[in-house]
């Protein structure tokens, strides 16, 4: 079901967390609300499910205006960060609770709980108490409970934050599989860019209560609208070079080096400050736009190696290369930037 948030404003006391935000989430889509803590992403989520009342603005599910409708009548399933399983009930009763509240018949409850338990692969655990489950299993129970009454919308609040690294990987694809299998409209709140990129159809990246950019993961990675977005996506993160616009390109700060600028980029007037963003995969030994530096940090990641290269003017570029390079800490290198992949930003951080 389509969700429309129109001119949403939320404040707690005198602090305004979100001001005049609008967002459209398509039916059957999985959307990530991504941002640093305190950016208002959870507030938005809780406004959608009705835990927070909106100070102003409208919220529509499909054509239905639910702004003033109570949580109980919105038909939204929520998975909380700490799962919020009911500790005194076993798994079956946990999942059955929404159906019991709705007064479904006992046979219906049995059947639906079985079905959903099979979907999330916890069919054998129905008689256990939450305390007897691992983190991943608790997560599955929470998902099953949120999905069992076939809600119109599924909301996930940092669902993977409490899992260890391996389980996180597993649940990432599991949640995506279940979402696609049920075709439900889902909103995921996360501060982890990898989660957002790997699980979702579109990402809304937020900062200080505003949506900075809304697009597909690939598009957002390759074509960020601001330096904030570029810096938030990608691991290892993008490196920035400071400088000023000059004849023929950008002259690096505290340096005589001038980097030529791709034709597609319109530089501002000469002398204005600009920033170049260069992703680690586009700073490689073989690229053409050479720049001198010294390797100041090496991190072995197994399949790949990550190098920090400190340039002559003190700024740092990152490079990620597949195993086998014979570079060592302290080596002087002359590597190249892929000129057509440079991202340029103006002084305010907007993309040029």
């Amino acid at each position: 079901m389509r969700i429309s948030i129109e001119n949403f404003t939320k404040s707690f006391g005198t602090t305004t967390v979100i001001e005049d935000m609008s967002l459209e989430i398509n039916s059957g889509e999985m959307l990530a609300l991504l941002g640093p803590s305190g950016c208002g992403k959870s507030t938005t989520l809780f406004a959608i499910c009705g835990i927070h009342r909106m100070n102003s603005g409208r919220l529509l599910f499909g054509e239905r205006d639910v702004t003033r409708i109570s949580s109980q009548q919105r038909n939204v399933g929520v998975v909380f960060q700490n799962y919020a399983l009911y500790p005194h009930m076993n798994v079956f009763d946990n999942i059955a609770f929404p159906l019991k509240v709705r007064r479904d018949s006992r046979a219906d409850i049995e059947r639906k709980v079985k079905e959903i338990a099979d979907l999330v692969h916890i069919g054998e655990l129905l008689h256990r108490k939450p305390a007897e489950l691992s983190g991943g299993q608790q997560q599955r129970v929470a998902l099953a409970r949120a999905l069992v009454r076939e809600p119109d919308i599924l909301l996930l609040d940092e669902p993977l934050a409490n899992l260890d690294a391996k389980l996180r990987l597993e649940m990432r694809s599991e949640i995506r599989r279940i979402q696609q299998q049920t075709g439900i409209t889902a909103v995921l709140v996360t501060h982890d860019q990898v989660e957002a990129m790997s699980m979702c159809d579109r990402i809304a990246i937020m900062d200080q209560g505003k949506i900075m950019q809304l697009s597909s993961p690939k598009e957002m990675y390759e074509d960020p609208s601001s330096d904030f977005v570029a810096g938030f996506l990608g691991n290892p993160p993008i490196a920035f070079l400071e400088g000023v616009a000059a004849e023929g390109g950008m002259r690096l700060a505290n340096s005589e080096v001038t980097l030529p600028v791709p034709v597609a980029i319109n530089l501002p007037d000469h002398g204005a400050a600009v920033r170049f963003g260069i992703r680690p995969e586009f700073f490689q030994p073989d690229n053409d736009l050479k720049i001198k530096g010294r390797i100041s940090f090496v991190e072995t990641q197994g399949r790949e190696e990550l190098y920090d290269v400190t340039l002559e003017n003190g700024s740092v570029l990152r490079s990620i290369q597949s195993q086998g390079g014979s570079f060592k800490l302290g080596d002087n290198v002359n590597w190249g930037i892929a000129g057509d992949r440079i991202l340029a930003f103006d002084a305010a951080g907007n993309r040029l």
């Binding site: 109980q72 399933g77 700490n82 919020a84 005194h88």
Partner: protein, 276 residues
């Protein structure tokens, strides 16, 4: 297991300090079942004579030990039911709901908690007189429950504070009303607190003395504590101390049994109930 300090010095100190209590309890037990010549230290015979109050009416105007025991039981039971019912709901409200003057109620609760309630007794006397509840068991129950409430509410609020908010939100999202959420999801989490309040206020009611004595001095509303007191007062210098001790033992027995059975549950109150 290796111990990093010796046990016996600690045990010795504890023994010395608890010896008076121990001696008193021993004599309570011994004297209740034995006879002895006045002025001697050790008993000279075993008897159940002191327990005659159980099967004969003592000639002191009250209506027999069983009636008084029933009164005491009713007093303790209804006090604890009232205290528990109100604490469990009021504690929830104070912990979770944003109602007007919440801060005032919280502050008032702490003040009342520490208030020397005996100073209120004249005012309470007058109010009961006015309501026509003076000298009735109901009147004493109402007063006792009211005085126990600050403690109960405070402890229950502490228990509610430890239940994660998310459980409540999850319940609401699952379509349950706030009342269902409280009844089905939250109350089971605070059950240890509920049990502790129930037992504590029962015991407190069982051993209450001042309130029944002042507010219900008549025979109809007599409870075991006042029954014991009248035994001493009526007897004057002739008071039968062995009888007194036997009644005392009878009076203390339920308390001891309840403590033995529920001691683990009672300890919970210190585990969950301390969060402000």
């Amino acid at each position: 297991m290796r111990q990093n300090f010796r046990n016996w010095p600690v045990l010795l100190v504890l023994f010395v300090f608890s010896a008076p209590l121990l001696i008193m309890l021993t004599f309570l037990l011994v004297d209740a079942f034995t006879t002895k010549v006045p002025g001697t230290m050790f008993p000279n015979g075993v008897t159940l004579h002191h327990f005659r109050f159980l099967w004969t009416d003592l000639d002191n105007g009250s209506w027999g030990i069983w009636g008084v025991t029933l009164n005491t039981f009713n007093f303790a039971l209804f006090t604890s039911l009232a205290v528990t019912a109100i604490s469990v709901t009021a504690g929830y409200a104070l912990s979770r709901l944003a109602f007007p003057a919440r801060g005032f109620f919280l502050g008032g609760l702490i003040v009342l908690h520490a208030f020397p309630t005996v100073t209120l007794i004249i005012a309470i006397f007058l109010i009961l007189q006015l309501l026509g509840l003076y000298n009735t068991l109901i009147g004493v129950i109402v007063v006792k429950a009211a005085l126990e409430l600050p403690f109960g509410i405070w402890v229950m609020k502490g228990f509610y504070d430890t239940v994660p908010w998310e459980i409540e939100m999850a319940g609401v999202q699952d379509g349950a009303s706030r009342f269902t959420v409280w009844w089905k999801l939250i109350l089971p989490q605070v059950q240890p607190g509920l049990l502790a309040i129930l037992i504590f206020s029962f015991l407190s009611g069982w051993s209450e003395f001042i309130l029944p004595m002042v507010l219900a001095p008549g025979n109809d509303a007599q409870v075991l504590s006042t029954y014991l007191a009248t035994m001493l007062l009526d007897g004057g210098t002739q008071a039968d101390f062995n009888l007194f001790k036997a009644v005392g033992l009878f009076y203390a027995l339920p308390v001891i049994i309840i403590y033995l059975v529920f001691q683990n549950k009672l300890m919970n109150i210190y585990g969950g109930g301390t969060k402000g």
